[in-house]
């Protein structure tokens, strides 16, 4: 029997990158998965590849969020796990961030997560408990000036996870955050200014001397969603190869390169 047999999961932003890897992983462990996204072409591709069901939705729009949750619950016959993943990145210093970019980042990464959590909580309670896993970022643990608004949004997400963990815990709903470091392929949904998927060759490496993969993050999601993660609630889990473990962590990878 697979670890996630019988699990009914909703993954937001599942059409590319980390989200697509999560959809794939949860399905491969036996879960029934519905995933959302904005790009219908990529959504159909991921659905064909994984057997999961695609529901188009814009994470910033409360009505669209609630409609996609209702569609997922109807299709799955209930809900045991929400994976909030839909996010956008914007490359800019905070002082040079426009209102338009700020609003896009905060609305998608923060308000979108709030909307999905609030829409899913009654269904998770109806199922007798479950889990919410929010994909945050190592930039939420320790900010990066080059992605100012994104860093702010992810710090707020980590706090959202901890408030929700206390709020939902008594209903046997566990709420946790995963904070990936640089992961390739990079975020395809962005607010201008960056290559479609970023250039991993230009990234500073963590002590493990490689960039992360969607599969690295998906493995952590599967853990939190499974009974193996039964006592994790309010956890902020870094999946970043050690990048945030020390102020000068990146020097360790450069030492490896020199050897």
């Amino acid at each position: 029997m697979a670890r996630l047999d019988g699990l009914r999961a909703l993954v937001t932003g599942g059409t590319s990158g980390i989200g697509a890897a999560i959809v794939d992983r949860l399905g491969s462990e036996g879960a029934s998965v519905v995933f959302t996204g904005r790009n219908e072409t990529r959504g159909r591709e991921v659905a064909a590849h994984t057997g999961a069901e695609f529901v188009p939705a814009e994470a910033r729009d409360g009505a669209a969020v609630r409609a996609s949750v209702a569609a997922a619950v109807t299709s799955l016959g209930g809900l045991d796990a929400l994976v909030a993943n839909a996010g956008v990145l914007h490359d800019a210093l905070l002082s040079e961030t426009t209102d338009e970019a700020w609003d896009a980042v905060l609305e998608t990464n923060l308000v979108g997560y709030v909307l999905y959590a609030v829409a899913c909580l009654p269904h998770l309670r109806a199922a007798g408990g479950g889990s919410i896993t929010m994909i945050s970022s190592d930039a939420g643990v320790w900010g990066e000036t080059a992605i100012g608004a994104y860093s702010v949004s992810k710090r707020a997400v980590n706090m959202l996870v901890q408030t929700l963990a206390v709020e939902a815990g008594p209903h046997a709903i566990r709420v946790n955050a995963i904070c990936p470091g640089d992961t390739a392929p990079g975020m395809a949904t962005h607010v201008g200014g960056r290559d479609e998927s970023g250039d991993p060759a230009s990234w500073t490496l963590p002590p493990l001397a490689r960039v992360g993969t969607g599969a690295d993050v998906a493995a952590a999601v599967a853990y939190f969603a499974s009974p193996d993660g039964a006592f994790c609630n309010g956890s902020i889990l870094l999946v970043d190869g050690g990048m945030r473990a020390s102020i000068r962590a990146s020097a360790a990878a450069r030492a490896v390169e020199r050897r």
Partner: protein, 259 residues
């Protein structure tokens, strides 16, 4: 008048200066000899504070972006383009967990507590850089460091404030501009500013537990820290998150190993 902190001839903008910590900060900075402009929603209270302190009142509701921009422009005119200190204090609170926080209320807290703080700081940042000095003082909260789940939306937005304070610090340091987050604990009488129509969700101090110091904080406690951060006494302090809570946040206070 010249105070011991040497703040005379300097100019400060305080947002949300008509009550609480903001009002105390306006009074303290004036007492130190500074020229001060402050914003606020209540014209009646604003004019009273202006009469009492000699500061300039700029009526402004920071939920209105056009009005907020206008107030900052007027403040910069008052300083002839020079601004030494910005105390980002305007904020609202909604007592309740995430699920009991209406979508409109969450968005309103995000707009006032985080987005308007970002927008005003961004407007102040450039003239400070051009002048080669300045101090951005962001009034966050201890709830931005560790979750207070009964103040969920407030906690989440204040976590974002701390992240923004750190990012402005790193950006501003090469230009002589400092940025710090002040995190007050329980300050009597609690945050009374709420989203419109939700006055019954102001902060309820009835459940407060006394800090290890044996008393709750006051606006004057926080204003003293604000004055220090405004002065050159703190010139190497930037990107700091300063709790001012009588020790509440220093350790978990629930005895879990028996008495």
């Amino acid at each position: 008048m010249t105070g011991p902190l040497g703040l005379d001839v300097r100019f400060a903008l305080v947002t949300g200066g008509t009550s609480g910590i903001g009002r105390a900060s306006v009074g303290r900075l004036r007492a130190e000899g500074m020229t001060v402009a402050f914003t606020g929603r209540s014209v009646e209270r604003g004019e009273a504070v202006a009469r009492e302190t000699g500061a300039t009142f700029l009526a402004c509701d920071h939920r209105d972006r056009v009005a907020s921009d206008g107030a900052v422009e007027r403040a910069l005119e008052l300083g002839s383009g020079r601004l030494d200190v910005h105390v980002a204090n305007a904020g609202i609170l909604f007592q309740g967990p995430i699920e009991a926080t209406p979508e409109t209320v969450f968005r309103e807290l995000l707009e006032v507590n985080l987005t308007s703080l970002f927008r005003v700081a961004r407007a102040c940042f450039r003239p400070m850089c051009e002048h080669g000095s300045g101090s951005l003082i962001h009034i966050a909260s201890d709830a931005g460091i560790r979750a207070v789940h009964e103040l969920a939306a407030y906690s989440v937005t204040k976590a974002g404030v701390i992240a923004a304070a750190e990012l402005f610090a790193v950006e501003g340091a090469p230009h002589g501009v400092r940025s710090n987050a002040v995190c007050p604990g329980d300050i009597v009488p609690g945050v009374q500013a709420t989203p419109t129509g939700h006055e019954d969700h102001a902060e309820d101090p009835s459940g407060w537990v006394l800090p290890p110091s044996g008393r709750f904080g006051t606006g004057a406690d926080v204003a003293a820290l604000v004055a220090w951060l405004a002065s050159d006494e703190s010139e190497h302090v930037t990107g700091a998150t300063l709790r001012i809570d009588g020790g509440t946040g220093a350790a978990m206070r629930v005895a879990t190993r028996g008495a």
